[in-house]
């Protein structure tokens, strides 16, 4: 089996990378402390989730009025509060809610909402409104920049999926990796490049070739680490449903259980852009989401790690209140955010958006997403100086 010493010896180039010093300075006590470090798992619902048919204000007359074809039958909703119920397909989420392992923040958005997928997603991912900053660093990457690099040369954040790395994870110093399955990163061929040329270790990623150099070095370092992890076989206590999202969450669980050291995992569930024939597809998406979430949290609990793991689910916007003629909905504004794990307070937080006064057929937000981030960063990840959330007071998400 491959251990740290062999790993160090085998990759002389790693010794030249900017990310290594923290790794070399690692002490036994630091490793012990890291065992208690908290982990954030972000699930991005891509495409703009119809929040109104997720956390349903069934008693609201406006809901009855604007949703004719798409109105969900009241008797099949999972009631979570007076006049509010979860979509019928969200049985597992309702169970988590009942267990106080799920908090739902209602009506989350930001001022002057943008209805472009791209721009709104960039706003959520960077927590910045200036377009210039949308290709810069993300709310998670900037926060991870303020922490020491994880042990064993592990990346600070990992995207599980075959998409491009989201800007949310991009940081100035912190490393982000991406893979879909462990197999993607296991390689028996050694094509790693030679040592970085002199001087390039201090260059920033601003320069394109430095960026590619660094990514290549990171890639082979992560590959070595994963080879190591795969060799420590872990038993699984829970069965996961068969879906892409569930298998991604399962991989996250394996990596957490293998004590990889990464602090933030990110996965995406796409398909929420339901402009037409929304009912069946939306139902399938929400079922997949809540089943995957429940299986993941149960698995983490069985592994005795539930005190360390929090899941955050968000979407770039909600959808319009009035359905369209294709039995779907068009781009809107605010929507619900899910925060799940043993540590959450549970229950509904914030106000459901007001459906009587609409701008372009969509409501005003009632909670700013940056106060959700402030709570997750400060109270969960215990990062004080992340410069992400500005003056936003953290929401009281945890008990």
């Amino acid at each position: 089996m491959f251990n740290r010493r062999q790993f160090l010896k085998s990759s002389s180039l790693v010794a030249l990378t900017p990310t290594v010093p923290a790794f070399l300075q690692q002490t036994a006590s630091a490793t012990e402390a890291e065992k208690h470090e908290r982990i954030l798992v972000v699930v991005q619902l891509s495409g703009g989730n119809d929040g109104l048919n997720t956390v349903v204000p069934f008693a609201d007359e406006a809901y009855q009025k604007h949703r004719r074809v798409l109105r969900l039958p009241t008797d099949r909703l999972h009631k979570v509060a007076e006049g509010i119920g979860l979509h019928p397909a969200m049985e597992n989420a309702a169970e988590l809610f009942e267990d106080e392992r799920l908090s739902i923040v209602q009506g989350v958005g930001y001022p002057n909402p943008n209805r472009s997928h791209d721009v709104s997603m960039a706003i959520w991912q960077t927590a910045r409104f200036d377009r210039e900053e949308h290709n810069g660093f993300g709310w998670i990457g900037r926060s991870l920049d303020t922490l020491p690099a994880p042990k064993r040369n592990a990346p600070s954040s990992v995207l599980i999926g075959n998409q491009a790395t989201p800007v949310a994870l991009r940081g100035r110093k912190s490393r982000s990796s991406a893979f879909d399955t462990i197999g993607d990163m296991l390689t028996d061929i050694n094509l790693r490049p030679g040592p970085l040329p002199n001087g390039s270790a201090s260059e920033s990623d601003g320069d394109l070739s430095s960026f590619i150099n660094r990514t290549t070095v990171d890639a082979y370092a992560t590959a070595d680490l994963l080879t190591d992890i795969v060799n420590q076989k872990k038993r699984e206590s829970v069965s996961y449903p068969s879906s892409k999202l569930a298998s991604q969450l399962r991989l996250v669980s394996q990596l957490i259980q293998a004590d990889m050291g990464t602090r933030v995992y990110y996965a995406m569930q796409s398909g929420y852009d339901t402009h037409s024939v929304q009912l069946p597809s939306h139902s399938r998406l929400l079922r997949t989401l809540s089943q995957g979430l429940k299986a993941f949290l149960d698995d983490i609990a069985a592994a005795g790690l539930e005190d360390r793991v929090l899941v955050l689910c968000f979407s770039e916007f909600g959808r319009q209140v009035q359905e369209n003629a294709s039995n779907g909905t068009d781009h809107g504004t605010a929507g619900p955010v899910f925060v799940a794990g043993k540590s959450v307070k549970g229950g509904l937080l914030g106000q459901h958006p007001e459906l009587e006064t609409l701008t372009n057929n969509a409501p005003e937000h009632t909670t700013d997403f940056r106060s959700v981030y402030a709570s997750v960063l400060q109270e969960w990840l215990r990062i004080e100086n992340a410069q992400v959330s500005g003056d936003f007071e953290p929401l009281q998400l945890f008990s």
């Binding site: 209805r115 879909d180 294709s326």
Partner: protein, 451 residues
């Protein structure tokens, strides 16, 4: 450094910046998908003017191009369409990209596929995806207005953007929004009210039995205010309004610069200037492409090797450079490799297409590119027979067994700069295995990801 106005002027070789192997290589990787040794040497001899002419005339590829290319491609395309298997359609396109004498048209077709990103994941109809691709190719370098008009009435596009039930009672905003945000003006150049009103203009446009239909009874004939103009506009009127806006020409100029120069090489001044040229010539794509390919901007030293090779560029570039054309690898397996590296043809990730640039590069894709190189060199992407390998190729072109000369030839061919990459071990002998490993490491190196 020439002023902004001169930066789009015709580049002329000088003693400092000569027409050399590196620039020929650059032209082939950017305008096409990479040249073979013989094509590169031919263009090095003939000069920059003749080389660009060849691309514009669709004659830049000669090695491996079958005499009956057009018929072969049509036969393969037809078979793919009949099979209703999208993987076979991908293989058809890869076949075109590798074997067409006219790689510039394929480059532009790919660009439009990205601009008008439509995914078969939703369309779920190989024939419609095939027809859309033919449309992109037909109008690839014509007037943008013709392309736009054809594409927004293209059945695959209408299915993709939910126009199936786009009626006056409840217009669907999807087509109208993407038309403004992605196809023409760009984000920030219209309001939400413009989107609403534009959606009314295209009510009635729909698709039935794989064909465009304009159902007048579903068209909203009311007055609509779009971008400061008011009238009882139809969908075609809307297109006219959008085509007349300067932002549209700027977006096309940006798209062309992004394709041929890479992200953020062209300044806003350059884009403005190119956009003005487009407006003067009724948005003629070909003229703008020619301007770019002949420009100072394109050939300046500092703009060479500054663009991240997309998976298609990387895979096809390797195949063509290594001349794997007589006994080619399976185009199905090549398409699958390209999928795995993140560029699934006919299934871009969303309406924005592939964003490209740095987004192509992450841990997974770097390991993946290394794995591809190893598989290609080991003949794993070939059914049979196995191809000539890099060792034989070097020997054929250099006529030597000398390790240094072989290494020099291979790095020139694969990296274009004629310098041995600093980060791969040097080649000590010309033993077959060693040469193959040398090429594998070179393809997997950071340097190979730029072109």
């Amino acid at each position: 450094m020439p002023s902004t106005s001169a930066i789009l002027n015709r580049w002329k070789p000088s003693a400092d910046e000569p027409w050399n192997f590196q620039r020929v290589w650059h032209l082939h990787r950017r305008a096409g998908f990479g040249g073979t040794w013989a094509e590169l040497q031919r263009d090095l001899t003939d000069g920059v003017g003749a080389s660009v002419d060849r691309f514009l005339a669709g004659e830049s590829h000669s090695v491996g191009v079958p005499a009956e290319f057009g018929e072969m491609a049509d036969t393969i395309g037809h078979a793919a369409m009949t099979s209703a298997n999208i993987d076979r359609l991908k293989a058809w396109w890869i076949y075109r990209i590798i074997f067409s004498p006219d790689p510039l048209t394929e480059r532009l077709t790919l660009m439009w596929h990205n601009h008008f990103a439509t995914s078969n994941v939703k369309v779920d109809d190989v024939e419609m995806m095939w027809r859309q691709n033919l449309l992109f190719r037909k109008h690839a370098s014509g007037a943008f207005g013709d392309l736009l008009t054809s594409v927004v009435k293209d059945p695959a596009m209408l299915v993709w953007l939910d126009a199936a039930a786009n009626r006056k009672e409840h217009p669907n905003e999807n087509l109208a929004r993407e038309l403004m945000e992605l196809f023409t003006l760009g984000e920030g150049h219209y309001t939400e009210d413009d989107v609403k009103n534009a959606a009314k203009c295209v009510t009635g446009w729909t698709v039935s039995r794989r064909a465009f239909r304009d159902h007048v009874q579903h068209h909203d004939v009311s007055q609509k205010a779009v971008l400061g103009k008011t009238g009882a506009f139809t969908g075609d009127d809307l297109l006219g309004i959008l085509l007349s806006r300067p932002e549209t020409s700027q977006r096309i100029a940006w798209r062309l610069c992004d394709t041929f120069l890479g992200a953020s090489v062209a300044t806003s001044d350059v884009i403005d200037q190119l956009a003005a040229g487009l407006r003067d010539h009724e948005l003629d794509i070909r003229g703008a492409v020619e301007t770019i390919l002949r420009s100072n901007l394109f050939f300046f030293q500092k703009n060479i090797s500054t663009r991240v090779a997309a998976p298609v560029d990387f895979v096809v570039g390797s195949v063509r450079a290594l001349e794997l054309v007589d006994k080619p690898p399976s185009t199905l397996l090549l398409a699958e490799s390209i999928d795995r590296l993140g560029q699934e043809l006919f299934s871009p990730p969303n309406v924005f297409g592939w964003k490209g640039g740095r987004r192509w590069i992450n841990a997974r894709s770097m390991i993946g590119r290394g794995k591809f190189a190893a598989a290609l060199l080991a003949g794993e992407l070939h059914y049979s027979p196995l191809p000539d390998d890099a060792f034989q190729l070097a020997k054929r072109h250099t006529g030597t067994n000398d390790a240094t000369e072989t290494a020099e030839f291979l790095s020139k061919l694969l990296l274009g700069n004629g310098k041995e990459p600093s980060r791969t071990d040097s080649l000590k002998t010309t033993r077959e295995e060693e040469v193959r490993r040398f090429v594998g490491r070179m393809l997997a190196s950071p340097e190979s990801q730029l072109c």
